[in-house]
Amino acid sequence: MLLISCPNCGSRDETEFHYGGQAHVPYPEDPAALDDRQWAEFLFYRDNTKGAFAERWLHSTGCRQWFNLLRDTVTYEIQAVYPMGAARPDRAAAAPESGTASTAPDSTTTGTAAPDISGTSTAPATSAGTTAPEGASK
């Protein structure tokens, strides 16, 4: 049983949460422009990292808010909790992620950044929406 630190509610059992898979996969900015391969990437292809993995969780029986975890998929250790829209804490310290300057928010946000109310994030969130999509729409 994972013990997950919800940014709003504190530590709760895993059974209160739902898993949302890989984080930082934005909806394509121009879906009609994608070819079949790119559309398949968006729909069906996700990173399957062995090691530190950024993923979304929903506190479905608590505050019903989405947030992100950085979790090791081998040890299952939770390394960071951070808000939707914020950059991955283990990469935020480095230069901004290369690649696109997408302004698309994560697909599950409403377009506005969740406030950084998490005291557990290892790095402060930068402005939302500047996170480069990870592994998506290559």
Binding site: A40, T73, Y76
Partner: protein, 405 residues
């Protein structure tokens, strides 16, 4: 006390050092890798081949599954490949000259809701049209076949009937691996344990070798049979797979007198139970929700499946959990496997079997060997190509396959 210990039985395979070069290398020495090597040697005359296993032979999911074999899948493509597998299971003990205790004791898939009943009857019809043995049982017939099942209506999800496949059953999983390994060894295949692949050598877009912790091996062709670690290997080779690896747990009780004559699966309350030849009750259920490579999961998943088992089988209430364990299953979004070519020339992949790979072992081996040897898929695995995620020709066996994956 002074008596000598009995002689060690003959080893079933050798442990050769890797050669510098092979005609083909199979990565992964589980059931699928061994079956692939066997059919490469037997059907295609390719005997200068090696199976590389990073741990010990058949120590991954082949050692961790609940050994259920059935072919009652909904869609034509699935019914064809799983039924072919079942037909191979029926002849393999003789062909491999090894009695691995394949027991066709039948598999029952329970229905607990009106939706279940309709889906089950539809699947029975589809199975019959595809030549798969299937029948619909009412609760009384369920009780006759499996007297320890609780069919009363005072439980949360009463049994409203079941589908039944009489030719389905279980086999002794480790013996299956040993049977394939022995035959591979006899045919000249090198089975190399403790040999972990660390990278691939490519000439342009063509794979020409495998880097391992025991040296570099050049090869014409590479077949990946690494289940939960398929994505890790694909990344080394420079392509992606639409796979998510999840922990899947199972458990056994202590040994009991034979009480459970068949295999019972319930999608709705979600547990599947059989009784192994030795007498343990063997149970499994669904995957843990999160991605994981840890070969272990969360306890609430075990608790949930045991609650379901005790409601269906009140007699199990006083049994004890002897052992629980987890494997890493490679799930796809349409709950069907991927068997075919990859974006890298001369590299082939067999993965995505998710929670149901054991039953498919012989057909995976047969079709994957054909694909590797000829460079083109067998008719049975043509629909299971990686390209289906781009064309949209998915084979959606979620739920339709009689168990939630």
């Amino acid at each position: 006390m002074a008596d000598l210990l009995p002689e060690h039985p003959d080893f079933l395979w050798h442990n050769p050092d890797p050669q510098k070069s092979y005609d083909a290398v199979i990565v992964g020495g589980g059931g699928h890798g061994l079956a692939t090597a066997y059919f490469l040697a037997k059907n295609h005359g390719m005997t200068n081949i090696a199976v590389l296993e990073k741990g010990w032979l058949a120590g991954g999911n082949m050692a961790r599954n609940t050994t259920i074999i059935r072919s009652n899948y909904l869609w034509d493509e699935s019914a064809a490949i799983y039924e072919h597998a079942l037909k191979l299971w029926e002849i393999l003990p003789e062909e491999l000259e090894y009695d691995f205790l394949f027991s066709q004791r039948g598999v029952m898939n329970l229905a607990h809701t009106l939706g279940d009943v309709r889906e089950s009857m539809r699947r029975v019809g589809a199975n019959k049209l595809n030549g798969v043995d299937a029948e619909w049982l009412d609760p009384q017939q369920v009780k006759e076949l499996c007297p320890i099942l609780n069919i009363s209506d005072n439980i949360r999800y009463p049994v409203m009937g079941a589908t039944y496949q009489p030719r389905a059953g279980i086999a002794k999983h480790d013996h299956v691996a040993w049977a394939f390994a022995r035959k591979c060894d006899e045919l000249g295949v090198d089975i190399i344990q403790n040999c972990e692949v660390t990278g691939f050598l490519k000439d342009g877009n063509r794979v020409v070798g495998v880097k391992t912790n025991r040296g570099t091996i050049s090869t014409e062709k590479v077949g990946l049979c690494a289940a939960g670690h398929s994505s890790v290997l694909a990344e080394m080779a420079g392509f992606r797979l639409p796979i998510q690896s999840h922990p899947l747990q199972a458990l056994v009780s202590e040994l009991h007198e034979p009480v459970h004559p068949t295999v019972v699966m319930s999608n709705h309350v979600h547990v599947y139970v059989s009784q192994a030849h030795k007498g343990e009750l063997v149970m499994g259920a669904g995957v843990d929700s999160y991605n994981g490579y840890g070969q272990r999961g969360s306890f609430h998943v075990i608790e949930h499946q045991m609650a379901a088992a005790v409601e269906l089988f009140p007699i199990f209430a006083r049994a004890h959990v002897l052992r629980t364990w987890g494997g890493i299953v490679d799930t796809t979004l349409d709950a069907s496997p991927i068997i075919g070519t990859t974006p890298v020339d001369n590299m082939f992949v067999n993965c995505g079997w998710g929670t149901g790979g054991f039953k498919g072992t012989p057909a995976a081996g047969l079709t994957f060997a054909h694909t590797i040897a000829t460079g083109t898929p067998h008719d049975l695995n043509k629909p299971f190509a990686l390209e289906r995620f781009e064309t949209g020709a998915l084979i959606d066996e979620h739920g339709a396959a009689a168990v939630a994956h």
